[in-house]
């Protein structure tokens, strides 16, 4: 799952996958802004068939957070 998430971030926002690891912070390290975050949330929802709640977006800071969230929503 971690690799799938990294690959999707890389493809969606055209960021080299080598720059993304499990602890990479989307805002602090990759300098993503709101538009990128919403784009990414939509891409995750399409790819993983989950609904990401608006109130949870601010908690999805790293690849690890995203993986844990998607897995918990799929339970």
């Amino acid at each position: 799952m971690n690799e799938k998430v990294k690959s999707l971030i890389s493809r969606t926002l055209e960021i080299p996958e080598s720059k993304i690891n499990d602890k990479t912070n989307l805002v602090k390290d990759l300098e993503l802004e709101s538009l990128d975050l919403v784009d990414l949330v939509a891409a995750f929802e399409d790819e993983f068939k989950v609904e990401i709640l608006d109130k949870d977006i601010k908690n999805l800071q790293t690849v690890e957070d995203i993986v844990n969230y998607i897995e918990s929503r799929n339970d």
Binding site: E33, S34, L35, D39, V41, A42, E45, D54, I57, K58
Partner: protein, 149 residues
């Protein structure tokens, strides 16, 4: 009175410092639970947005939100944030960018950011906003001091 500052190559932090100094304000900055900054005594309200090399800051006597975005079009984002009526009105990148900054300035005005849900903002019902084109960018301001459109 609303004041809009647009600066190139200046960080948000430094622009805020400069504006507070200009207004002779030396107050602590506090943050709400969603991360929106305020002055401790709310002597003035302010909001900041940043894109590429530009930083914009607005000040107002009342609650305010601002957003700047470079003219762009992202279909996936449009589908995620727009209702059917809004989608019909977006014909090109300029329309999309205006829709985006309107929604963003509103949720920043509310102090909730993305947590509010951009799809929950119906731009056709928003009244207290102003939109300004600046080079290849759009800037939207939403606030209680803005005259209704």
């Amino acid at each position: 009175m609303i004041k809009l500052y647009i600066e190139e190559g200046v960080s948000s932090r430094n622009l805020l410092k400069k504006v507070l100094k200009e207004n002779d304000i030396d107050e602590k900055i506090i943050y709400n639970e969603y991360g929106k900054p305020y002055l401790k005594n709310n002597k003035i309200y302010f909001n900041i947005s940043h894109k590429d090399n530009y930083t914009v800051l607005v000040t107002s006597k009342k609650e305010i939100g601002v957003d700047i975005e470079k003219i762009t079009f992202r279909k996936r984002v449009l589908n995620k944030i727009a209702n059917d009526e809004e989608k019909k009105l977006v014909k090109n990148a300029e329309d999309f960018t205006k829709l985006w900054v309107k929604k963003e300035s509103y949720v920043k005005y509310l102090g909730m950011g993305l947590s509010y849900g951009l799809k929950n903002v119906d731009t056709l019902k928003l009244k207290k906003y102003k939109i300004k084109k600046y080079q290849d960018y759009y800037i939207a301001i939403y606030g209680d001091e803005v005259k209704e459109v």
